[in-house]
Structures are given as C-alpha cells and as structure tokens.
C-alpha cells in the first residue's frame, strides 16, 4: 500500500513508524503531565523524542513555528497543558 501526500508517498512501513514514534511521545506526555503542568501551564506543547521541542500559548503560532523549523505537525503530538487537570464527563 502507498499513500500520497503532497507529492510524496508513504508506505505501510512509514505509517507504522509514524504511529510508533507518535505513540512513544504521547505516552511520555501522559506520564509527565504533573511536571509539564508546572513548566508549561496554559500552553500548547509539541513533543519529539520525549522532549518538548517548542511551546506557545497560541496553537496557530506553535504550528507556524514548527513549520518554520521544517517539522511536520501532523506527525507530532501537540497537547494543551492546562494549569489544572481538565475534568471530562462523557
């Protein structure tokens, strides 16, 4: 299987790799919530390789900064870190 994106093609191997890297970083965010809350309260953070590579209080600004650095935000976990843990009722 090949997937076209903006003139490039992704195969299953690339998709799997993208999923796994995203998963590792998302798990890291989940585990480090308390620490991240102290440092990045009320900001969006972008994480690659278990490190916060950038943050901003505005989502659009963060996305622009990532693109300027040559990063593709669609492959990177971005989370809003609220000062208090949000309560979700589903």
């Amino acid at each position: 299987m090949a997937v076209e994106r903006a003139g490039t093609k992704m195969d299953e191997k690339q998709i799997l790799q993208g999923l796994r890297e995203f998963s590792e970083d998302m798990d890291w965010i989940s585990k480090k919530q308390a620490t991240l809350r102290k440092k990045f309260a009320n900001k969006y953070i972008a994480v690659i390789g278990r490190q916060v590579i950038d943050s901003d209080s505005e989502l659009e600004t963060l996305l622009r900064k990532l693109k300027e650095k040559g990063r593709n935000p669609s492959e990177i976990p971005i989370e809003f870190i609220s000062r208090e843990p949000p309560r979700l009722i589903l």
Partner: protein, 143 residues
C-alpha cells in the same frame, strides 16, 4: 485481528485511546491522531487541535448539526470525504478501514481541551468487538 488501545492519563483520570494515522486522500491530508474511545458518543469527532495539526482546513466545509454535551453546544463541520483509519495491529501489521466522512468539533474557548473521539457508530459500522479487561488494564478491538 486485534488492535490494542492505550489506557492513559488525560486530565483527572485514565481513558482508553486508540492511535490511528488518518488519511483523507482527496485532500492530501494524513496525520496521526490519538482518539479517545467513547462508546457514549454517537459520532466520531476530530478535535479542533488535531484538525489544525494535521492540516485539515475544515472551515471550508459545511457546518454540521451543533453538538450538545454536558459543557454546552458547539459548532461542527462535516468533512464529507472518504477517511481511512490506519491502525497498528497486535501482530505488527496495519488494518486500514475506510469510511465516509468525519466531523470536526470547533471549541468556543481559546484553550482547546477536548480530545478527538472515536464513537460507538465507528465500532458498529466496522463490526468491532470491544473488550475492557480492567484488572489487567487491557483494552482492545477485535474483528
């Protein structure tokens, strides 16, 4: 074929999340999304943050019915395109079902808190069996 969910912290407690690379071929959009598995949701929803992150310009699409939840009523946009969900299976392969359309939920506040949701209709349409084994915190879909 089995797909494992991740039982992880979000806010005050843990929830089951399913990771998928979603692809909207007509729009040349592909990106990874962590969907909260919400059997109480009638529909699957992309959060505003995830939509913007994967480059989906949802504002060009027609508005859907406003979505009402405990937090109030919010706008939705109907992306009437074929959407493929690429999931990693337990054996290291890929399962890639395609379905028609997904909605984007636009939050009214500046801070976008809500996660993307995979709703009950997704499980129904694709005939998934969902297992919550809480003693081992093992949650998975089977088909």
């Amino acid at each position: 074929m089995r797909i494992l969910a991740k039982y992880r912290s979000w806010g005050y407690r843990k929830w089951a999340f399913l990771r998928a690379a979603i692809e909207i071929r007509d729009l040349k959009v592909i990106g990874v999304v962590d969907f909260l598995l919400d059997t109480g949701a009638g529909e699957s929803i992309l959060s505003e943050t995830d939509a913007k992150r994967i480059g989906l310009v949802y504002q060009n699409f027609p508005k859907g019915r406003p979505a009402t939840g405990i937090g109030g009523t919010v706008n939705t946009y109907k992306i009437g395109k074929e959407v493929t969900f690429h999931f990693e299976t337990v054996d290291g392969g890929i399962y890639s079902p395609t379905r028609r359309g997904i909605e984007v939920l636009e939050e009214s506040s500046k801070e976008k808190h809500l996660p993307s949701l995979l709703g009950l209709e997704f499980l129904e349409e694709l005939h998934f069996k969902l297992t919550y084994d809480m003693p081992t915190e093992s949650i998975f879909l089977e088909i």
